[in-house]
Symmetry: C2
Subunit: 185 residues, 2 copies
DNA sequence: GCAAGCCTACCTACTGGTAGGTAATATCCT
DNA sequence: AGGATATTACCTACCAGTAGGTAGGCTTGC
């Protein structure tokens, strides 16, 4: 399905991951898609609505990812599968969209803020579950709670993803993923 | 010294830590300081100049911090001293300014980008040195290089600082600091 | 006298959002 | 089947507000 609606969301996704939610405008989006601003407003009445739709899309994608990861045999494979999601961002010099939304949190109206926090927590819970499984079956070894460990890993790889954008730190994201796999063993 | 120049920088600091570099305007700054926009332009001709001055200020503060931390007897105390810097941010619901600048990197002109990257790398090197000392004298134990470990810790605590802003994650920053002290032992 | 510091008044470009119109498609009623 | 009626999707043209920035004038202290 390649409707205008999904095209807008897709391009908004890319722009959010490059510049953050407040770092792009409807005009930017319109130019990229070669449609008019009013057409975007037709599908997403306000920018907050676009933000909310983005969060809902990410939540769906996260749930799909969770289902997919559960088919993998080991916690280690699941963690690597989780890391793999960000590989394309790393290649394209982008940040994590969820993180990018978090940084602009204070500039958002409350309904959007709520969606952002919900999305972020969904991700943390998915990662937390993977870590808990690994801890229980002896694959992983760490001292904090699974949730705390999830926060630490999640933040670390997303920060690395951000730093990874400058040439000086090229490869940093992959190094960080590898380091975590080794550190948890 | 409480000049208009330093007042502007100080308030810009707070706004950057709340909303990011592109999340505040000269008008916001002028309102807070009860001066006119043109007066800010008198001290910082362009917003990029203000950004560069911010980076230079942070670099000086980082160097001062480094000197101070070197007076502390152990690597663990130095690491805790480093963490302590962010305590006021955590209390005020703010992000790390260095991190906040990084997220908006793509929206900045090149001269400012350079300063941001320089500032970020200075911090990573300071943290890296602390970790190396701790590794060498047996206080700390970790597998990656000191620099890689510095990236991981730096990103993790700053991400936690960001998440810490929502009530749902209150206390997360301190938990993360404590977790790192324990994990490195 | 003159420079620093701050001001009023203004500019251009762009922001998110709105009003109102057109063409195509779908739905309904006889 | 054919005509009336909505609905969808897009458009042009605009709005008020805000962004960063500029020109030029008024104080104040050396």
């Amino acid at each position: 399905m390649n409707t205008t609606y999904t095209n807008i969301l897709q391009h908004a996704d890319a722009l959010i991951q490059s510049n953050g939610f407040h770092g792009f405008s409807y005009a930017d989006l319109a130019k990229e898609l070669d449609i008019r601003k009013a057409s975007i407003h037709h599908h997403f009445a306000t920018k907050a609505d676009l933000g909310i739709a983005f969060c809902q899309l990410k939540c769906e994608q996260l749930k799909q990812l969770e289902s997919h990861l559960k088919t993998l045999p080991s916690a280690k494979a699941r963690l690597q599968g989780y890391f793999a999601v960000f590989q394309s961002c790393a290649n394209d010099g982008q940040m994590c969209g969820i993180y990018a939304m978090q940084t602009d949190l204070r500039l958002m109206a409350e309904p959007l803020q709520k969606q952002v926090l919900k999305m972020a927590d969904l991700e943390l819970n998915i990662l937390s579950d993977i870590l808990q499984v690994g801890l229980d079956n002896g694959e992983f070894n760490f001292k904090p709670t699974a949730y705390q460990q999830a926060v630490i890993i999640c933040c670390a790889i997303k920060g690395a993803l951000m730093l990874n954008r400058s040439e000086h730190h090229a490869g940093l994201f992959n190094q960080t993923c590898d380091a975590w796999i080794e550190m948890l063993a």
